[in-house]
């Protein structure tokens, strides 16, 4: 084998970057800019705290989903797996051996460990199950994980009997307390955890053999197979990682909400998919990465937080360009008085716009 010659003039940078590569970043900048103008006091440390807090769960789940999308599969069960994990944790916590009924007791460190570890074990089993069935049945993971989604939600309902359960104080702290405070900027523990998860995921994907196999399995499964990669194992591993991330996200979310009930994590799946795709990771595998997912999560959370912060009544009242007659008329309109109900619609429109523009840029770049 040739020893690597170290030529200095070699252009070691990756292939030439194009507009399409920067599109997600530009979208993030544009969205931030729009809200900086539209919402009062948007560019502030307080908003940043809010974004970190709201984005943490999403970031953890989207990281897991990135693995699955990179190898050209999908996992539809992340939302309900998150819910199931939180439910298992809550139900165990209220058992006599731990904190007792209503979860009011303290519980030892060992109990907390058990109560947190078992949901991960269950997630491992369910992840292995969806992975194993996907590669052995030849059915698309779309179908298998769709079934898994229902299995998980059914189990969650049965376990909790639709009751609300308490969770260990450790999780509550994780979801709500700040790790560090800089004036009004409070970095939540959950955001720190998300950062660690993403960093590890990034290192795994970029610097380990497993990570490379994930990319190549998604890039061209047959080529990877003919090169001796056990692509089935890679797919199973990705689905397990995704299930684990979902479980982790579910526990953090339960902590943030100080308990677990069945209405949690309802939008988690689609939000997470939106984040990953918004960052520019291909739904067809092989392209993307954790850095992109981070940008996607930030964009999505900025959108969410920003839309909540926008108050059209205020905007109209204090606008200096609008004539007075218009102001009075508009303030009576339903789209102003019931703006809250319009927020998901606007979120959808912005997402659609961003994704269509990204898609076109990528297509143009490829032609």
């Amino acid at each position: 084998m040739n020893s690597p010659t170290l030529t200095k003039d070699a252009n070691t940078s990756a292939r030439r970057l194009s507009l399409a590569d920067f599109a997600p970043l530009l979208t993030l900048a544009a969205v931030t800019l729009v809200f900086a103008v539209m919402a009062e006091d948007f560019i502030s440390l307080g908003t940043m705290t809010l974004i970190l807090k709201r984005g943490a769960v999403l970031a953890i789940v989207a990281t897991g989903l990135t693995f699955v999308l990179l190898c050209a599969e999908i996992d539809l069960s992340v939302g309900t797996l998150a819910l199931l994990s939180a439910c298992i944790c809550g139900v165990l916590w209220e058992q006599p051996f731990a904190a007792g009924p209503k979860g009011l007791g303290e519980g030892s460190d060992l109990d907390v460990c058990i109560v947190v570890a078992i949901p991960f074990l269950i997630a491992l089993v369910l992840g292995l199950l969806s992975g194993g069935l996907t590669v052995s049945s030849g059915l698309p993971s779309f179908i298998i994980t769709l079934a898994m989604m229902n299995i998980a939600v059914g189990l969650a309902k049965f376990l909790t009997l639709s009751q609300k359960y308490n969770v260990p104080p450790m999780l509550k702290r994780l979801g709500n307390s700040a790790l560090m405070e800089f004036g009004t900027l409070k970095i939540p523990q959950s955001a720190a955890l998300a950062a660690v998860v993403m960093l590890v995921a990034h290192l795994v994907l970029q610097h380990t053999r497993f990570g490379r196999y994930v990319y190549m399995t998604g890039g061209n499964r047959q080529a990877a197979r003919l090169a001796g990669v056990r692509t089935e194992q890679i797919v199973v591993a990705c689905l397990v990682i995704c299930a684990w991330c979902a479980a982790c996200g579910g526990l953090v979310n339960a902590g943030r909400l100080e308990g677990v009930s069945l209405d949690q994590n309802a939008d988690l799946l689609l939000d997470a998919v939106a984040c990953v795709v918004l960052g520019g990771t291909s739904l067809f595998g092989g392209e993307g990465g954790i850095g992109r997912t981070l940008i996607g999560v930030l964009t999505f959370t900025v959108l969410r937080v920003g839309l909540d912060a926008v108050n059209p009544e205020r905007l109209i009242k204090f606008s200096s360009v609008l004539p007075k007659a218009w102001k009075d008329a508009w303030l009576q309109q339903s789209w102003v008085t019931s703006f809250d109900l319009l927020r998901p619609f606007l979120l959808g429109i912005v997402l659609l716009l961003a994704l269509v523009i990204h898609g076109r840029l990528v297509k143009k770049h490829r032609d």
Partner: protein, 506 residues
């Protein structure tokens, strides 16, 4: 060359010419078909048979020359127009839809309806009737893919007739059929003749052509050599004309060689009784270190599938393979790769991730060996860059996407991938397909280097020239079985083609 006695041609092509870019694919070809005639079309790979038929099927609209149907000039711009002129094509790779019933396939696009809904009973009746006319007795309600290949092919033909075709183009109809199946197809063709259907029969199997055709047209290098009644021809004459004589000068275009005496010593790779249902049967072969074994056969002869089996991509039903005397695990690519049995598949869509950087493709198979446990781009770049220089990939830039390279350079990337690890047996399936002469020579030189370094090479191809130019020993395949081995003797292209159509009966 119209015979005065015969009826006027149904379809008459005059001076057809086709160019693809700067390459002349067809030049000044005259071709005509009369009603009730089976017209054979023969020639080597690249002689222009497929191109001519694609012109008739409307797939190649940029042609020069004139086509007349029933004496009226027509211009075929699209498959739809060709169908409107009652020309139907039955492709080598079948175009029926396996998941639909036979009746649905027959009536595809023209399902009988009543009140806007498909009239199933009428459709099944019509389908059964049109098959019965051809003496095909099958249940039309069953799925098409539940029937053997010959039935599917007959259904394809019936579909063409059902749509009112008067000219049927049969592209290699017998290449994947067993002998009795082929005879059954011939019966059908005979029946169609009496009904006045004109047919073009394209085949590598000259015996079949001579058995079924009334006239035969021979093409070579995109030109018409001659059209003559079949009874005035025999196999030797046709082969001789197809191959030509004056071409032996070009290095890669050898039409005959003298094989070196058989190498002695222990075989590197030995197969015993390998069998995989429907693809190949009873293959016993071996290859020695530093030797190139050429496998020649037509498409579907089984030699290409054999390569997939050796690489571990498919698990043969029966038989065993030994590498240096030790049994090789079958159907397991990773263990084959680890032991140095490496495979270059014909279809580059199966060997390269086009959107990934070249470097990722190169290091894929031997990541640990090449880069260790922690992958760093800078190191990967500096491992791949000299390797790409060595295989002559242009440009030798590992950070480009693999899909941005030309076909020849893509193949060099595939070879570079294996150069990072041990190569004991190099399996090549059509390694130079679609490449220009220069790229071909470069790729085959890389293979020769490996051979000199002691690797055993198995080269499977449908191009006799390639096999003759690079093999030390040759085995021919026909219809899933090995028909002949050549070693230490003179071999000509005719010999190869003769044994590739041998059906084992004599």
């Amino acid at each position: 060359m119209p015979e005065s006695a015969a009826s006027p041609p149904l379809l008459d092509c005059r001076q057809i010419g086709v160019r693809f870019g700067g390459v002349v694919a067809l030049q000044g070809v005259d071709f005509d078909i009369r009603p009730g005639e089976v017209h054979g079309l023969v020639g080597c790979n690249g002689a222009g048979k497929s191109t001519l038929m694609k012109v008739l099927a409307g797939v190649v609209p940029e042609y020069t020359g004139e086509i007349q149907i029933d004496g009226k000039p027509v211009r075929l711009h699209s498959p739809r127009e060709a169908l409107a002129q009652k020309i139907a094509m039955v492709y080598q790779e079948l175009s029926g839809i396996g998941a639909l019933s036979v009746a649905e396939n027959l009536c595809l696009g023209r399902q009988p309806t009543s009140f806007g809904r498909i009239d199933w009973s009428r459709m099944n009746r019509e389908a059964a009737a049109s098959l019965a006319e051809l003496d095909i007795q099958i249940d039309v309600r069953r799925r098409l893919d539940s029937y053997p290949l010959v039935i599917r092919q007959m259904v394809e033909i019936a579909r063409g007739l059902h749509s009112g075709a008067r000219v049927l183009i049969l592209d290699e109809p017998t290449s994947a059929l067993s002998l009795p199946e082929a005879l059954r197809l011939f019966e059908l063709i005979g029946k169609l003749k009496t009904r006045g259907v004109a047919m073009v029969f394209i085949s590598h199997f000259l015996e079949d052509v001579l058995a079924i055709c009334d006239r035969v047209t021979i093409l070579r290098d995109g030109r018409l050599l001659q059209t003559r009644p079949a009874q005035e021809l025999d196999r030797a004459t046709i082969l001789h004309q197809m191959v030509g004589e004056e071409r032996e000068s070009a290095a890669d275009e050898k039409t005959e060689i003298t094989l070196p005496p058989a190498a002695t010593g222990a075989p590197r790779l030995a197969m015993r009784g390998l069998q995989h249902a429907g693809q190949f049967a009873d293959v016993t072969l071996d290859v020695k270190p530093g030797e190139c074994l050429g496998l020649y056969g037509f498409v579907g002869a089984g030699h290409q599938e054999l390569m997939h089996a050796l690489a571990g991509a498919i698990k043969p039903d029966r038989g065993d393979v030994t590498l240096d005397g030790h049994a090789l695990r079958l159907g397991d690519v990773p263990s084959a790769v680890r032991q140095g049995v490496v495979f270059v598949a014909a279809d580059r869509a199966q060997t390269l991730a086009r959107r990934a950087p070249i470097a990722h493709n190169v290091t894929l198979a031997h990541l640990k060996r090449a880069l260790g446990g922690w992958i760093v781009w800078n190191r990967e770049y500096h491992v791949c860059q000299p390797l790409l220089e060595r295989v002559g990939c242009r440009p030798p830039n590992p950070s480009l996407r693999a899909g941005s390279l030309s076909g020849g350079n893509q193949q060099k990337v595939v070879l570079a991938k294996w150069l990072l690890g041990p190569i004991k047996v190099l399996l090549l399936e059509e390694p130079t397909r679609g490449m220009d002469v220069h790229a071909k020579a470069e790729v085959m030189e890389l293979v020769a280097q490996q051979k000199r370094a002691g690797a055993a090479v198995i080269l499977a191809s449908t191009e006799p020239e390639l096999i003759l130019a690079h093999s030390d020993r040759i085995a021919t395949f026909a219809r899933g079985r090995m028909t002949r081995q050549f070693s230490g003797q003179r071999v000509t292209k005719q010999d190869l083609m003769h044994h590739a159509e041998d059906d084992g009966t004599g």
